[in-house]
């Protein structure tokens, strides 16, 4: 379960690398005929890298949980626009280091690390309820540094396959992989949806607290249930145990068919939110 999500993340990372590479090649193709005004192509490249990674990093949960395309698209657009701005700023900052006689290797490493840090922040901003903010940003930075190192290595060894592709594929994967490992580290339980449109879906409880409801800002979204509120319940970890709390007074929350306002849940418990049925499992 956890490892399959890690594999899913890595696959998405590979895809992100492929997408960045194709966009960079597209940019180059356009720049070949019409010189890009104003800036070095490095900044354009940074913008494209930021666009794809900033767009895809925050939506990996939405993809994993098979959310509606419109929701994924809106998350992607938000993340991508933030990522583009971050890419321009970070790579522009890197470019300006050239003026103080930094060699291009250091400029690349610096730019990628800085962009990684920014991407960590963007992931946090787009999906705010995720815990461990500082570690997340730090992990983003490590991912960026690793991308830079991979690209340096592939430049150094002049790989047979297009070197940029190799570096970007590895870089994209490492970004997603590191975040996935971080999120899997604390996971020891999950919810399984028993009824409704999402029947059979497994939701890993990988954060300090999760909100459940039909609203799009929730972590676990339960669409198509008549009696589920916008933000219905909250699952949070306290004293190494998962607790369930009723958030909306209009909605019912019950554990093992007994109404509760707040209670700890244990393995195998049947959770009922309005008309939706969930089961709590431990890994």
């Amino acid at each position: 379960m956890k490892s399959s999500r890690l594999a899913f993340s890595s696959a998405l990372g590979l895809t992100a690398g492929l997408m960045i590479w194709s966009l960079l090649q597209l940019l180059r193709f356009i720049a070949e005929e019409n010189p890009l005004p104003g800036m070095d192509s490095f900044i354009y490249e940074g913008a494209l890298i930021g666009l794809v990674l900033g767009g895809l990093l925050p939506v990996r949960h939405a993809l994993w949980n098979h959310h509606a395309p419109s929701l994924i698209l809106s998350l992607f657009v938000l993340g991508a626009s933030l990522g583009t701005v971050a890419g321009i700023l970070c790579f522009g900052l890197g470019q300006s280091l050239m003026g103080v006689q930094f060699s291009s290797e250091w400029v690349r490493l610096f730019s990628f690390t800085f962009l990684g840090l920014c991407l960590g922040g963007i992931v946090l901003y787009v999906r705010p309820s995720s815990g461990w903010p500082l570690i997340r940003i730090l992990v983003g930075g490590i991912g960026g540094l690793a991308t830079g190192v991979f690209i340096e290595l592939s430049v150094m060894y002049q790989l047979m396959i297009p070197w940029q592709l190799t570096g970007l594929l590895l870089g994209g994967t490492i970004h997603f992989l590191l975040l996935g490992v971080l999120e899997n580290y604390h996971v020891d339980s999950y919810l399984r949806v028993l009824t409704g449109r999402q029947e059979g879906q497994l939701y890993l409880l990988d954060q300090q607290h999760h909100s459940i409801g039909y609203g799009k800002t929730n972590d676990l979204i339960l669409p198509g249930h008549s009696e589920v509120c916008e933000v219905h319940a909250r699952v949070f970890k306290k004293d190494e145990q998962m607790h369930l709390e009723n958030v909306d007074n209009d909605g019912n929350v019950s554990v093992n068919y007994r109404f509760i306002s707040q209670q700890s849940v244990k393995k195998g418990d049947i959770i009922k939110l309005g008309s939706a049925l969930l089961q709590y499992h431990e890994v």
């Binding site: 899913f8 180059r28 193709f29 070949e32 698209l73 050239m98 399984r192 028993l194 068919y257 509760i260």
Partner: protein
């Protein structure tokens, strides 16, 4: 739908963007920008750009003057600039790379003679030198001496050509000269075998070092090599026996026709900019190029065909969609009537309800991975078909069969009911069955004891308490024997249909507490297990009918702290 609405304009935009390179194609100028030196311009120095103009000055004049041009940087006109031909201030530096390699002896003689003559005759605008790998520039001891290195034939290492070019372009002295590397290559074909000529990094380096590579070879050059060298401001010449001197004259003449454009940028740092140069009376610029301090992120060699790039992009997009699609929830039921096993070890498989089913005995044939224990008398749980669903009747009260986590003797199964059969958990799936909400018996909740007389006087600190779900009040066990049930005769009264009149008893045996089941029909559970009698431990969960409480040996902090405080105050007093 909103996804598709967004997709259509998105695709249109993408296609327009892709087609834009073809839509605005500009004719290439005959003039060429060969090399530039902008390193000194980081902090307000001068940028020097070497270019050929592609035409001759008007009759009666020797050179063009700066007044005849318009220069614009990034589209902004620039007035402070000079265009001068190569001369004593900006000389041409010709450097011959040694060794030549194994050329035919007749050719060697032909080459040696003009080189030997010229190297010794530097002019104000042209400088000649010899360079050998591993040695550097060769100093000639005295004029008129024929350099020994020219006579020695040696193998030309084609595979290290890039390396040689980098090394040879490194130790030029003056910053103001245009440099040309003359490389004699015995066989250009062997170069082609390597599969590529120059990396982009090398191209950038040579351009920024204002070095123009010229390849001279007895074999014919390929079109690709011609194009690549042309882009770097250099060229390639096929050596025809007997005409070497003439060829060399031509190359030199071409190199000397370069002009130097020098201007002072108003910005600090190494920023690429678009340079446009045109004759004053013309519309189209004859030079339009980005002056780039070198790619920070180097590119791979040749741009890939647009179709391939677009395909890769589409594939990556499809992969994202595929990954999303791959995670769609897959319901295990598909409209059939039956049970989903909710034990995670059983992979949530679906168990179809057998036809002509009479009781739950069919569950005994189920093979489970964990060998889950089932109730022993499953043949006494009758199933009868009623309307479109089933009626379950439990004839044996000792069966640990729970429906919706609750004991029931006779229940009409509804869609999404959860059944506990021993350790096996089943979810009933029947889309045609009435929904759970219509079930008649309301689910009662929060069964808590009827508050009786409060115990008089202070409680002993080691008095255990019962903590009921849904109530904050704690019920202390003040007596040695406490009976629990729905009858008012009990010490603790629980008003519920599922609680027997005399249901259970908690008694003190020595220093420990024991829970005992008194009811035959209803059941008492300790930590989820049905029990008859059991010693209680701190934190145990007791289920009596549908009331759930927790046994605690000590009262919670809020109650116990206050007497402690009083004690400490009294002690202090």
């Amino acid at each position: 739908m909103s996804f598709i609405k967004l997709l259509v304009p998105g695709l249109t935009l993408a296609i327009t963007l892709l087609c834009s390179p073809w839509l605005s194609e500009s004719p290439r100028a005959a003039a060429q920008l060969s090399a530039f030196n902008i390193d000194s311009g980081h902090w307000g120095g001068e940028h020097r750009i070497f270019l050929t103009l592609g035409r001759k000055p008007a009759v009666g004049r020797e050179y063009f003057s700066s007044d005849e041009f318009d220069l614009s940087l990034n589209g902004v006109p620039e007035f402070q600039f000079r265009i001068k031909p190569l001369g004593p201030q900006n000389p041409l530096h010709l450097r011959f790379l040694l060794p030549f390699g194994e050329l035919a002896e007749s050719l060697m003689d032909e080459i040696r003679e003009p080189i030997a003559n010229r190297i010794l005759q530097n002019t104000p605008s042209t400088k000649y030198s010899l360079w050998k790998n591993g040695v550097g520039e060769i100093e000639l001891a005295e004029p008129g001496e024929f350099p020994e290195e020219l006579t020695v034939a040696g193998e030309f290492p084609e595979s290290e050509l890039s390396h040689l070019l980098v090394e040879a372009s490194r130790d030029f002295t003056s910053d103001d000269s245009l440099r040309a590397l003359m490389v004699f290559i015995p066989d250009l074909k062997s170069l082609e075998k390597e599969g590529r000529y120059f990396s982009v990094q090398l191209r950038d380096l040579l351009r920024r070092k204002q070095v123009l590579p010229w390849f001279i070879s007895p074999t014919a050059p390929s079109d690709l090599l011609k194009k690549e060298l042309g882009r770097m401001g250099g060229g390639t010449v096929q050596m025809v026996p007997g005409e070497f001197s003439k060829t060399f004259e031509n190359i030199q003449k071409h190199l000397l026709s370069h002009y130097v454009l020098s201007h002072q940028p108003s910005w600090i740092g190494n920023v690429p900019y678009l340079l446009e140069l045109k004759f004053r009376n013309e519309q189209q610029p004859f030079i339009r190029e980005v002056i780039d301090p070198g790619k920070i992120l180097p590119e791979s060699k040749e741009p890939y065909p647009i179709i391939a790039i677009f395909l890769v992009f589409l594939v990556s997009l499809m992969l994202v969609i595929l990954l999303w699609w791959f995670r769609r929830p897959r319901a295990s039921t598909s409209g059939k009537i039956g049970f989903v096993i909710l034990n995670p070890e059983e992979k949530f498989r679906f168990l179809e309800m057998p036809e002509k089913v009479k009781n739950f005995e069919f569950l005994n044939e189920l093979k489970t991975r964990q060998e889950l224990r089932l109730s022993s008398n499953l043949n006494r749980v009758n199933i009868t078909k009623q309307q479109k669903t089933f009626l379950i009747e439990d004839k044996n009260y000792k069966n640990a069969l729970l429906i919706n986590r609750r004991r029931s003797h006779k229940t009409l199964l509804c869609n999404n009911d959860v059944l506990d059969v021993g350790e096996l958990v089943l979810l009933y799936k029947n889309p045609e069955a009435p929904p759970q909400q219509n079930r008649k018996a309301p689910i009662r909740d929060k069964v808590t004891p009827v508050p009786g007389n409060k115990p008089k006087g202070p409680l002993r600190r080691d008095t255990p308490v019962l903590n009921f779900n849904g109530s904050r009040q704690e019920f202390p066990l003040v007596r040695n024997i406490i009976t629990i049930g729905s009858s008012s005769m009990n010490d603790m009264v629980l008003n519920s249909d599922e609680v027997a009149s005399k249901h259970a008893r908690i008694s003190r045996i020595g220093g420990r507490w024991q829970l005992q089941n008194l009811s035959l029909q209803e059941f008492t559970m300790l930590n989820g297990r049905r029990i008859e009698q059991r010693i209680l431990r701190d934190g145990d969960e007791i289920t009596i009918g549908d009331a759930v409480c927790r046994f605690k040996l000590e009262r919670s902090d809020s109650n116990s702290k206050s007497p402690n405080k009083k004690e400490s105050i009294s002690k202090a007093g």
